[in-house]
Subunit: 182 residues, 2 copies
């Protein structure tokens, strides 16, 4: 991979942009490698060589979009912070586009790198919340405990049980975790 500004970086950028634009314009199902390549001003063989196939390309784009763009809000206390974060996490992940990104990220990911990145994003956000609470002197659960008790159930149900989910479920998971450990 070359430095920013190099040709490789330009190609990656224009191809990713083409995927985002075309997804919005023609829909995800109508995407093809030749279509994306044409929009990006690149030959299809370039895309095939760099990404392998459409799924791996979509996986890369999906991970980009799943990266949190803002730090968790500060509501003054661990419970409020964690509840608010869990609700926002749930809303983003359970929304139709969120579900699509999750699926894409998992789909074209032979070695699990992209999926691991998604998990790392969530862990980073939780770390911020927990560190802030610890700084206030609050007793805090382990990051891994939050992953097991909140993130994992949310993601499991989104993936395996698409029906009958709402943000209240995420709230209850946080409450269950905090009430048990406190």
């Amino acid at each position: 991979m070359a430095r920013p500004g190099g040709r490789s970086a330009r190609v990656q950028e224009s191809v990713h942009t083409a995927v985002r634009e075309l997804t919005a314009e023609v829909g995800r199902d109508a995407l093809t490698v030749p279509l994306v390549a044409a929009r990006a001003g690149v030959t299809p063989s370039t895309v095939y060589r760099r990404w392998g196939d459409l799924q791996e390309l979509l996986s890369d784009v999906a991970v980009e979009r799943l990266r949190p763009d803002t730090a968790p809000e500060d509501h003054g206390g661990l419970r409020a912070d964690l509840t608010a974060w869990a609700e926002q996490f749930f809303d983003e992940m359970a929304s139709p586009p969120g579900r699509a990104y999750i699926r894409d990220a998992l789909l074209g990911d032979p070695d699990g790198t992209n999926a691991g990145q998604c998990s790392a994003y969530a862990a980073e956000q939780i770390d911020v919340v927990l560190a802030r609470a610890a700084g206030r002197g609050e007793a805090v659960p382990d990051t891994e405990a939050v992953m097991d008790r909140v993130v994992a159930p949310v993601m499991y149900r989104i993936l395996f049980r698409p029906d009958g989910l709402d943000a209240g479920y995420a709230r209850r998971l946080v409450a269950g975790l905090l009430d048990a450990s406190g």
Copy 2:
């Protein structure tokens, strides 16, 4: 769908068998619809019409393979039963073929039917364990609690954090659940 013995059933059977055989012979990555169709003694267009594409076909086969073939063993008590079941569940799901089946089941599943089926399989097994314990007079957690506290974390880590997992993790999840609720 026709009755067993009908042509539809025969085609489905032979195509599924062809997928299983060819997966073992040439590997999953070398599978193509024309290849499977040839082995099954069927024309490719038949496969495309019934399953749409290779991913949906693989998803169907994967769900079949994820169906538990045996009831959870009876070890005389809830903790032993649940621990043993969780270990076996973990071993099956975390093994390389298990991971491949999970991915396939999620992958080619536009409406979430197959993923829901996988979840239902686990819930059924847990129901058996819990009902048996309740019959002994033991206090038992809710099935949904087991899904949230054991199944979800296991599946999440298999999908999103492929590294550094062992059966001890599943054991600890069961212990955490039972010790908290008891």
